[in-house]
Subunit: 336 residues, 6 copies
């Protein structure tokens, strides 16, 4: 089977152990993660071939990040080395009514300074069946946005499925461009969008009252597809935050006509909420490629996301049989 | 008071800390456990005298296991040393919808190669009031099954109460015998059985439709006692798995006529689910010997099991006053 | 703004990690706490100036305790050094139905032997707007009770608001005096009491049937204010213990006429329950000084206490914006 | 073989991990130790039967201490329970030029308040071949000194070998008696003394110039034996402190006529220096009982002490074959 | 460049942290290692392409071992999955005069039951420049020995350099064959031997007096080459064990005529001695392939081994520039 | 006594535990350090009043850094908050022949963007007796260099002693200026320089052959004082690196006429080498202010530095009595 290609920044994540607050912690757990790489890692654990394109500093921290991807079975052969530093973020893990907190320190990272024309997309995408990007990448820097556009254009030209997770983060987008200037062109060549009705308004300027009503939701999605006719599927998760460690999660898929909803799962306690959306996307890609059925795909996507919440680290490392077991109703019975 | 004697394998348990998955863990917590030894440990913490018979390798790992039993007040004077290795198992602790996983590595352990005729049961059982075994032991090897039979025969001859926890594990029983060939003879000299209706079918070939209906349950238990007239009590737990860390637990006792049920407890979160059944048995033995009342005994048994779920490790190390406090409704109020 | 002054013992706390029982633990987490110092620490984190008066041994353990207060922004300039030892307590953290346990080892501590006449209360209270004490201090020793009385008298004379948390602990009070002999005189100069109806009976001898009925509660509070006319506000928390790690918490304030109740919060799981009451008091003091409105103050107090339950250690280190966010309904949503 | 009996306080030891200073440490490693119990533990690991007499608080900390002794194969059947608290000490582990530091917190411990007449020495010593005490015990309190005298008198009367480690600690001896008032009577019934020439002056008032010269050493030892004719052997270690983690260690024995010296060992790095003297005594007792030759006994004693320095915790847990391997020149070669 | 192929068992290694003894340790550090895989890992870190052939159980422990190799850049594409269990060994890390101890538990491992004819050596060795095996493999089982022979024969036939590390372990060789029956045929097709004069006697039956004299050493090596004319180079390390953590290490190479010696290095402290010999072999292979000069190769080999001793885990993960820096005399100066 | 003022960046330091390599570490120890703040921290522990001026991000990481300084008794009242991020560095701790490695990630830190005119030096220096800076600050950015110049000018004008540690780091100085353009003006108002002969050449352009010969050293120092007549004392350490964990350290002071040398100390093992130079400077400042004698001051300085090497973290937290004990020859003897 051909590879799934992902592109985006990977950061070192430094999280306080045992729910400690930043001021209390004399040490940090360290791992690596990034929205797009998380998708590749999860898909590798589902048994698919993946390759992640990114840029790391040419120092032991960059090599450690590479080793992390490699140990998760992601092809690291197209990683670029250079620049000053690994982007990183600090994570304080909340509990109960106390929310988790993230402090980003990603400016001037190696990836931030990535330049178009330096990645051999033609070769990379030759052996690919899917290309996935997120709205974080064009929000980082002009260079990152340009590289993302290169990839989307070539993938589209080659007939590869392109998925984009809009993933709007208002703290990014500080290099002089707004999402509305940059995103529509990228979206226009996408086959699959990960987007909520709110994203439609923020990023695409599609207005709607009461997007939480299903009838309005459908209208918004129809409007998106009208504006971006290449888009065939729009997927999203629906999360109810009972508390920091107790969430309800479901997913849905708009197939151009109607909304297909998944089961809702209760997750309590959450071991690690970061990367839940990426695990959803990975689950959907697996479902679309292998299960070839919208209902099955969205069920696989949301179950994949749910399992991610029980695993420390940014990425889902569940296997296909574990996702299926959850879909089939095994909610935590000991396996001897 | 005379001793309670238990017989069975003790394994090293290597568990991933902090709910890590096997692939994620650079270290393991190490302790020791085994279904029968867990009963002795718990009874020692209830203030009774206990002795455990097993076989360990004659090396520092075997000595460490001995030290573990000794520190838990179990008489280790009848442990046999020899053979190649300590059996062990790996435990990945789940969370929420993710189940815990166990990988056994117990073949060719010192206990696996234990031989009949090498244990001085006459002497060991001289100072005993109770002998407890489980269905795991005859499932390991012919030698283990034979040793178990020796002990049951001599205990029965001496008029000692014999309890057996059927505990069917299909992954064991690989030495050429089936449970139905081996178990009935062992069960025939038991005074107390730990058994669910399902065990009756699997191990004893007693058929029944809808064993979950109480009226059918009674019929099955009556049939058991008909076939094995030495059996006076049949006890079992009833567990509802809401999630990996959230269970509801109750217990019941069949006294030959009717089923006596305990209160149901909610356990959330579960610190460690392993050994919950053994803590139930230990609680019952304490209840039978000391409280001398079926209702009290089954309440003590299930409360003992519930407390075990809040304690790391295979065995319950709660004290009698703690079990009683739980029975009396203290559900976790801070004690200053 | 003038300082809030607190006075009382600070102990080293040695807690078992990961819910281990005392017998299981080969190491302890170490921090420092004490009912009154916890109030100062919390108020410092709310941005107010605080000073804590206590007595530590003149050795590295005493210096480490000083460093702990200093790092939490509490003025340590009036700490006395001398005596033999740091008081300490051991904490076994429960889970689910298993309660946490505390073993105190505070006798003959440096604070236990504190002597009246050795603290320059005139100077310390010169720059103060509030003085807070608890019923633990007069329960420790005659010297401690006398020092507490000195401080209350001088604070009262200077017109500083005095608050007292009755906090009855029957295991203390072993130096030959009873609460009823000592407490009334101290209470008589208090402006704010932290007290439940049960405290009224135990400490002040005010009898009442069914104190849990709101109408009776009001009567008890009215009787307190009748006997102690300096008291203007009586506050308390109301806790429902679902399990060791799952509590419901609300608070109330009696303003001389009626009871004002706060919202009720669900806390699950509790990271650390110790110091919940102190965080409530700190929240109230902040509310009274800054928010100047009884309803707002009691809401701030209980939200402060709720957040404390999510933080390891004796003291709340939440910031004002975090408390306000909780009051405004953010129940744990991730902040990126 | 009959038991070796030891008597003395056992404290909880709280040590900073990884050479952290007291101010730096957010957690402590916890274990238990005491000069006399360390001897019993070590002798148990050499395969001899031992019993330790002490007094613990009747709470989980006391039970944990009991479990610690039990897991080290020491008979705990004669331990007394009562009193307020476990004595404890804090240990900051030095490195290189920075010395380790100990802060004792042992006043008013359960053992401190032990009373004569409460220990059934007649029964305890019935099955004994050796009784060992140290100068720490009579230094703690009058009660402890009196209990020690009881034991020595009865042991002597029964013809049991009595050994005393003078072990002068000037920070103790605060209950109104001086060593010179108490010790001579205890020493007078000892068969074996652990004493350096300096102890002779401090404790027994035997003056000597230049005790470091071997000829003067012999004179001092001869004077001791003249004053205390029951004493047959005087043993001691000789330590050269190159740095906190680098020591040279040898031992010697005076047999009434001459000094027999052991090999000198280099220890670098020292894992844990505490209890080095106790391991020496345990080694000597083993040597005297089993090897029955002064030169062999002193070699075994010092090698036992050297191995202790490589083991975390107060007590030596080396086995006989390990001590012998060191004596035979194996200085650390990997054993596969 | 073509790949280096290695073949052999990989075990899980469970080591006690902080020099704890087996009886003291409540947890183990877990990693993976094996003599031949260690060579591949080290060569990967030197920038060469490597592939390791082995057999793992088809369970998460086997997958974790695979991830470990993959993260170290070793091609895992030819690993076989099957059998019952991962072989493992326990490691107690010594200190100073206390030796480290290893307890093997490798019988009946997946690799133990490997069968000839199941590995596609023709394909694996097609893209290879070097094949390396050790004497551990033919010592494990007949199947392992036969697989090893297959590989050597095909490698030899294809003209690939073959190196064998004789590595005699008397505790292995328990399947009915002796080294003298099995090894000569394997050695006969080797181009490079890792062997000491003592190996010559034990494995090949070549007698010699005083092998430690250089003149006799040369004679033994000449005799080896006479009997096995395919052998062109014989290399070995020379280790002086000052203590468990303090060794002196040098290496030498016999080129058919004379012995070329490396510098001697002092290593103190040793972080981890396991795998020192494998790092030496990896260094030599790098040296032979890249540096193409005997003196340079042996210097690189021993410096590689020395660096291994400073790194936790079985395998050297130093980079070429680090080895070169050590050869050039940088003995530990901080790099900013 | 008046305060000592220091000015410079403080970074978060993330170090691998237990000598792990960057690739091996799943967690990092976290602390804070910076050349100038380290001096203030050490002086605070010597009992002097200190204040550190720096700039931190206005987020919890910045607050944690503030807490760190505060807990070390440094006045944090003049810290500026703003900018994007905390500078940080990663530390891999070497062992034996493997050097420690530092990876800096300090660009675009809050301090990097500090601006002249924003610090109220007049007020800060009003209550000061000493101002200390290092060559790292003017190397970071033009803003930092300008702020440093402001401080030196005002300190000099007020007659405060100014010390500068030249501390050349070639990896810094990337903002367009060279040391020779910036440093001379700053040095010209210094009373005390920390400088080696090599610094003289690199930073001041003072040429010399064979600076390691004492006669040439004197010439260089004389030339420095000729060019910078305000300089009265030049101090430096002399380090011999036996290995990563084994150093020899001494210090010297040029008083305008001759070189005064300290004792040389052996440090083995080194717990943490970072900040050794800063501890030397702090020791010298203490010595100059309190001991008022060049020989005593340089002895105190080097002993302070030696003790730092035995303490984890960037700063010395030894007390005066500990430094004096080392000077008096106590090389690590246990203190009970």
């Amino acid at each position: 089977m051909k590879k799934i290609i992902t592109f985006g920044e990977v950061m070192m994540r430094l999280s306080t152990p045992n729910h400690a607050r930043f001021e209390q912690s004399g040490n940090f757990n360290a791992t690596f993660g990034g929205g797009e790489a998380n998708v590749s890692i999860s898909l590798s654990h589902f048994g698919l071939r993946t390759l992640h394109v990114t840029r790391f500093p040419d120092n032991p921290i960059g090599y450690a990040a590479t080793d992390f991807l490699r140990s998760n079975k992601v092809d690291v052969g197209s990683i670029q080395y250079g620049g000053d530093r690994m982007g990183l973020y600090f994570l304080e893990t909340g509990s109960s009514v106390r929310p988790s907190k993230i402090i980003y320190d990603r400016k001037n990272s190696s990836f931030d300074h990535i330049q178009p024309g330096t990645i051999d997309w033609e070769t990379i995408l030759e052996d690919a069946s899917w290309f996935h990007w997120t709205g974080i990448t064009p929000a980082i820097s002009k260079g990152a946005a340009d590289c993302c556009k290169e990839a989307i254009d070539i993938a589209h030209k080659k007939g590869i499925t392109v998925s984009g997770d809009l993933n709007y983060r208002k703290n990014l987008w500080q290099y002089g461009k707004t999402p509305k200037e940059v995103m529509p062109e990228l979206i226009s060549k996408c086959d699959v969008l990960v987007a909520s009705p709110w994203d439609a308004e923020t990023i695409m300027g599609i207005k709607s009252n009461y997007p939480e009503l299903e009838e309005n939701e459908v209208k918004i999605y129809q409007e998106i597809i009208k504006q971006f006719p290449q888009v065939k599927k729009i997927i999203s998760t629906h999360r109810i935050t009972v508390s920091s460690n107790h969430n309800l999660l479901s997913g849905q898929l708009f197939n151009g006509n109607s909304i297909i909803k998944s089961k809702q799962y209760e997750i309590n306690p959450i071991v690690d909420r970061i990367g839940g959306g990426d695990a959803f996307v990975a689950g959907y890609i697996y479902g679309d490629l292998i299960l070839k059925n919208d209902q099955n795909a969205i069920e696989f996507a949301v179950a994949s996301s749910v399992l991610k919440h029980t695993i420390e680290g940014d990425a889902n490392i569940s296997k296909v049989d574990e996702v299926e077991s959850l879909i089939n109703g095994n909610n935590g019975k000991l396996k001897r």
